[in-house]
């Protein structure tokens, strides 16, 4: 039995240890904000926070989550929208929106380690998150907006 926390709540798991955290979150816990895009850590749609840092939940096996604190898009802010979510709305980032929870989680992680990111910081960190609608220039603008907001 593996014990860990998801969005502040204690959880345990004794199923297939190879099951990726992504499918545990989506199919077992019903937290579907974390998206499936590629299954190989190539697109970033499944990004969640592990102890505050972005990871790809599609390659994080349940056998390895013991003792970890996982945060998903559903719980990045306890009171009202997070600064990053507000900036996303301000800039009207989403088109289809499917990749955006992953983009937002990655951006939250970026801003916690680099509060005033440069274009290069943003591009290199966000390059792991694919958006097929092509919202990249708005994502970049929204991250800068959020950085300003938090400063």
């Amino acid at each position: 039995m593996t014990h860990f926390k998801v969005n502040g709540l204690d959880q345990s798991f004794d199923g297939d240890p190879e099951m990726p955290l992504l499918w545990y979150l989506r199919d077992i816990l019903g937290l579907t904000g974390t998206k499936f895009g590629c299954g190989m850590a190539l697109c970033g749609a499944c990004t969640v926070l592990q102890d505050g840092k972005a990871i790809r939940s599609c390659i994080k096996q349940m056998g390895t989550v013991g003792g970890l604190e996982i945060t998903t898009i559903e719980a990045i802010s306890s009171h009202g929208p997070h600064a990053v979510q507000k900036a996303w709305a301000e800039v009207n980032v989403p088109q289809c929106g499917y990749c955006q929870p992953g983009q937002i989680m990655q951006a939250v992680s970026l801003l916690s380690s680099t509060p005033r990111p440069s274009d290069d910081d943003i591009d290199s960190v966000m390059a792991g998150n694919i958006c097929r609608c092509g919202t990249y220039q708005r994502i970049r603008a929204a991250i800068k907006e959020a950085a300003k907001e938090r400063a």
Partner: protein, 750 residues
């Protein structure tokens, strides 16, 4: 054509709205006869009268507007309802958008071909104006004064012009619900100066829900007792299972059983591909079990398909006379004069859609009724195909439309929803079919590969007197007719049958090609390869004539004329949407001016490229700026696009579409390539089918929208086609290396 009924007492919105709510149904002809040839879908239902949109007003003043088209990032849940809300003088903050199920009474719901605003603009306005007039009449009746004394002013209330009396829409709803519907002649549509929302930028209706991770998408659907399924599809189109060993699969924790799915009967159309399904109690178990299946396949005749060989055949065909599509003057006579001839061949490979959300559907078959939840561009197609597969009537199938995590044309094809229905029937439980990314890329309806040949006879100034263009590709029609080898009218109308240029002698041709994989429409469809060939050729002619490419492009377009497509022109379209090259010239001038064309020196690794193209009735010019380093790595610092899409319902959405089109175009131009070996697709995921990421997408895309009073045209697709040749032309300006074959990675660039 639109007629509107008061259906307050028999509305399907019942349950959501109170008994006194006011509900209007608009009966409209949403799809004019020419739509089929302009759009890509061969399944459009063009029968005459269709019931259309509904608007309902609740006694608390909440206005419900039904979005009957699919939301996939196209902004349709914002743009269309705001058109109706404008004529209704509704307060947008009190509007709730409801997604409709699949229902033929709405008219066409097949959200493709950049149709939504252009085909429903009038209908939405009339529906809004009708509701407004009825609210005004309700107030007049209530106050016992002439209708002319009442006015909807400013929003959500009707005022008495002679006093300070006002009544809110909510208060008036119950009275309006009892009124008869005014005739169309009685409606007074607003003048453009009076528009409140049309033409004004507004953000998406669903941004907050999207950003908080709400379960909006097909992938997020959960139904009680639902099983999960993954399917091993035949690696080659038309392949069948010879033997299957599922012993290792059945040992996987969570796997329930394996079920075989019948192969299709050609033509494959929207039928499932067949194969073996693994049903489990979670997605991961289904995937893991599927990976452990040992299947021996009978691959069938398409196993002979290898794309490298096929490319040579297409190129060979493109060098020979083809079927004449359209002809002006006598190009052969000009070619025979023996003057200066310029010719070139172009090639563009297959592409996959790769929307971020792979195909997914949930189906629940109960006795003779089926409920499907699916991210679909084509809910009525889901109803039809599921009904057909299960031997039911279309009305027995309910299709709930979720948000789509991208569509790009893939999700117009309901094969994956049929798979879910077949498996639900076989298991007696609701089943969610989830395609992996590998499934999505290997078993797509692929954008067609194309070989093109263009030849021009030039005068002393380097301007063409004659132009011949020939295009060869396995047609979309091959998915619906077993032996289709020639293009349909749709693909030919996409940047090929006629020329945007002022050339006295012109001929377009099409050569035959047999398909060996499923061919389908992808955002912008045949415009992609056709614009690539024509706009690259134009650029080549400019350099050949020692002319500035932009100046030369203006010379080719001329001062502007109406392009006559003759018999190739679908009936009705030329009257409402004449192909006016003066508008093409105007967007070229605007894009060049905004991009500061000619102010920067090209060469030594930096350069600008320009291209123009009209598609989906919209005129677009794009200027791309590139920097190419010594390793061939391309950066795109700036893209400037000018758009004339007629009246624009929501400029913010149009800007988003064109920003996105530049990124989509970057993926196509730079790395987009699907190949096949022995009938099976070689690519599988974003590792070997890379798409543009933030660090290689254009840094800045500026979109300039031309003010226009012309009828609304398309917005979702027209940005892609000119982007690709503009980028390749910029690469030539920067490096002197001409790109005649896509993608750029095949030309030493990265």
């Amino acid at each position: 054509m639109i007629t509107i009924e008061n259906v307050s007492r028999r509305s399907f919105l019942q349950g959501m709205l109170s008994a006194s709510a006011f509900v209007l149904c608009a009966r409209i002809v949403p799809r004019p006869p020419w739509a089929e040839a302009v759009g890509a879908s061969p399944t459009i239902d063009t029968t005459a009268f269709h019931p259309g949109m509904f608007v309902g007003i609740q006694s608390d003043g909440t206005v419900y507007i039904v979005a009957h088209r699919s939301e996939m990032g196209n902004g349709v849940r914002t743009s269309l309802p705001r058109i109706l809300a404008d004529e209704l003088d509704a307060d947008w903050s009190r509007v709730k958008v409801i997604q409709s199920d699949g229902d033929e009474r709405y008219g066409s719901q097949d959200t493709d071909g950049s149709h939504s605003v252009r085909e429903f603009f009038d209908a939405m306005r009339e529906a809004g104006a009708t509701a407004r007039l009825m609210l005004v009449r309700a107030a007049a009746q209530q106050w016992g004064i002439p209708e002319s004394q009442c006015v909807a002013d400013p929003v959500h209330v009707v005022s008495d012009k002679s006093s300070s009396r006002k009544m809110g829409y909510g208060e008036l709803a119950a009275i309006a619900a009892k009124l008869s519907v005014p005739k169309k002649e009685e409606l007074k549509l607003k003048s453009p100066q009076e528009w409140r929302y049309i033409g004004k930028p507004a953000p998406g209706s669903d941004v907050a829900d999207i950003c908080s991770g709400k379960p909006l998408f097909g992938m997020d659907v959960r139904v009680d007792g639902m099983l999960y399924a993954a399917i091993a599809h035949p690696p080659v189109l038309g392949g069948k299972v010879k033997t299957v060993d599922d012993s290792a699969t059945l040992k996987v924790t969570g796997v329930k059983k394996t079920i075989s799915i019948d192969p299709f009967t050609p033509p494959h159309a929207f039928q499932p591909l067949g194969g073996v399904a693994v049903v489990a109690d979670n997605t991961f178990a289904a995937f893991k079990g599927r990976n452990r299946l040992k299947i021996e396949w009978d691959n069938g005749s398409h196993a002979a398909y290898t794309s490298a060989e096929y490319k040579k055949q297409l190129q060979q065909t493109a060098r020979q006379a083809g079927k004449v599509i359209h002809s002006v003057g006598d190009p052969d006579a000009e070619f025979a004069k023996g003057g200066k001839i310029f010719e070139a061949e172009y090639f563009a490979p297959h592409l996959a859609h790769a929307s971020m959300e792979p195909p997914v559907a949930v189906a629940d078959v109960q006795a003779d009724k089926v409920t499907v939840w699916s991210p679909t561009q084509n809910p009525q197609g889901v109803q039809e195909q599921v009904a057909k597969a299960l031997g039911l009537k279309k009305e027995d199938v309910t299709c709930h439309v979720t948000f789509l995590g991208g569509g790009f044309g893939r999700k117009s094809k309901p094969d994956y929803a049929v798979e879910a229905a077949v498996l639900s029937k076989k298991t007696g439980k609701p089943v969610k079919v989830v395609w992996s990314r590998e499934d999505d890329i290997k078993f797509d309806y692929f954008h067609s590969v194309a070989a093109m040949y263009i030849k021009a006879a030039l005068d002393d100034t380097g301007k063409p007197n004659a132009w011949l263009q020939r295009s060869v590709f396995p047609p979309i029609g091959s998915s619906f007719e077993k032996d289709a080898v020639y293009s349909g009218a749709g693909e030919m109308s996409q940047g090929w049958n006629v020329s945007p240029f002022d050339i006295p002698n012109f001929r377009s041709e099409n050569g035959q090609a047999t398909a060996h994989i499923r061919i389908g429409w992808l955002r912008s469809v045949a415009n992609i390869y056709h614009a690539f060939a024509v706009q690259t050729f134009a650029n080549e002619l400019a350099y050949n004539a020692n002319r500035d490419p932009y100046d030369y492009l203006l010379t080719l377009i001329g001062s502007g004329h109406i392009v006559d497509a003759g018999a190739q022109g679908p009936p009705g379209i030329a009257e409402k949407y004449p192909y006016d090259t003066a508008r093409l010239r105007r967007v070229a001038e605007l894009a060049a001016a905004k991009a500061n064309w000619g102010k920067k020196k090209s060469g030594k690794g930096s350069g600008m490229g320009i291209a123009v193209h009209r598609s989906f009735l919209t005129y677009v010019a794009t200027v791309v700026e590139v920097e190419v380093d010594s390793t061939g790595a391309i950066r795109i610092p700036h893209v400037t696009t000018a758009v004339d899409a007629g009246i624009v319902a929501n400029p913010e959405m149009v800007r988003q579409q064109f920003e996105g089109a530049a990124v989509f175009g970057t993926s196509i131009a730079r790395t987009g390539e699907i190949t096949a070996t022995n009938g099976a697709i070689d690519q599988s995921n974003f590792s070997d089918y890379p798409v543009a990421r933030m660090n290689d997408a254009p840094y800045q895309v500026d979109v300039h929208i031309v003010e226009s009073t012309a009828p609304p045209a398309g917005a979702g697709e027209p940005g892609v086609p000119p982007f690709v040749p503009a980028l390749c032309n910029a690469v030539f300006a920067a490096t002197g290396k001409r790109v005649r074959e896509l993608p750029l990675t095949r030309n030493g660039f990265a």
